[in-house]
Amino acid sequence: MLDISASSLFVILVSAILVNNFVLSRFLGICPFLGVSKQVETAFGMGMAVTFVMSLASIITFIVQKYILDLFGIQYMQTIMFILVIASLVQLVEMIIQKTSPTLYQSLGVFLPLITTNCAVLGLTILNIQERYNIIETIFHAIGAAVGFSLAIVLFAAIRERMEVANVPNAFKGFPLALITAGLMSLAFLGFSGLV
């Protein structure tokens, strides 16, 4: 029943990473993008954590959609169901990681709470359904979105690190310049439009 071709999966992947980059052209997950991008290391940790949560959340919400919402015809409850599922899930995972692997917790776990209330994850799960992806496509879409997010935030963090020593006008120090930087990055990413 699943009709999947390698090329269509590739298209989903490339589209989510580059063409419709979650941050730079879809405006999802801007808060962590702006907030947790002062250092490349933390940005990378954030990216990894987002990748993990996005994949997990996509699968679970897919199941919730199919076997609860669609089954009972209560699609209108999507938002509340999804956010509950995601929030609880992430919290659960965080607890487990914190208990079982302190090192993993340091590199990944600390970012988890932040991800719960971030549009990128909820947005992704809603988009998955909206685009009517099947389970395999959903996973690819999730990975693509996460990689796209990670790419954007790591590049952004590196640029911001460089700006630390720049002689920036006072009024633009901090967030304003970060936004303008993001704007210019998004300008560059327009180059990918029409790629797939």
Partner: protein, 177 residues
């Protein structure tokens, strides 16, 4: 343990109330939403089904597996079904192109209508021109779609073609006999 049960119950209570409220609001708004969905497309549909006097939404469950098809309508005239209309979303150059494709009971495309698009003004937005839209009239659902793209707006044209294709696909799958 007691604590646990207590917490669970409180959450149960709150979620149940939430469910209740939502259920009520939903049942109050669902019909209105459906009506306006039809109303929204009705005018556009009239451009290729001039005789129509009523339409109803086809249950979504029928074509859940078709990514690009958003909604389907049965189109009536004097109580008889005269055709179907599908609303599709495809990716154009500048974003999603939302459009309708009308197919009559004979299995012939009777016309298309662009509901919304964000193509580049002057380039991609020529897909809204009558000249382009008319290229689709009369296509047989069982035949090939052979429509020339507009040069300089290949991406946009292809997106429209894809929309028509998807509509035909669903038509064949669901209603094709």
């Amino acid at each position: 343990m007691r604590e646990m049960i207590k917490l669970g119950l409180i959450l149960l209570l709150i979620t149940a109330v939430a469910g209740l409220v939502l259920g009520i609001v939903n049942s109050m708004t669902a019909d209105i939403i459906e009506e306006r969905l039809i109303a929204e497309s009705l005018e556009a549909m009239e451009s290729f089904f001039p005789d129509l006097d009523d339409a109803s939404i086809i249950d979504e469950a029928e074509f859940l597996d078709y990514d690009r098809v958003e909604e389907g309508f049965e189109v009536f005239s004097n109580g008889d079904v005269i055709g179907y209309t599908f609303k599709t979303n495809t990716n154009g150059y500048g974003g999603t192109i939302e459009m309708l494709t009308g197919i009559n009971v004979e299995g012939e495309v009777v016309g298309i209508a662009i509901l919304s698009q964000a193509e580049t003004p002057g380039l991609g937005d020529v897909i809204e021109s009558d000249d382009f839209k008319e290229r689709f009239v009369g296509i047989d659902v069982d035949g090939e779609i052979d429509v020339d793209t507009i040069s300089g707006a290949t991406v946009s044209s292809n997106a429209v073609i894809q929309g028509v294709e998807s509509a035909i696909e669903v038509y064949l799958e669901v209603f094709g006999n």
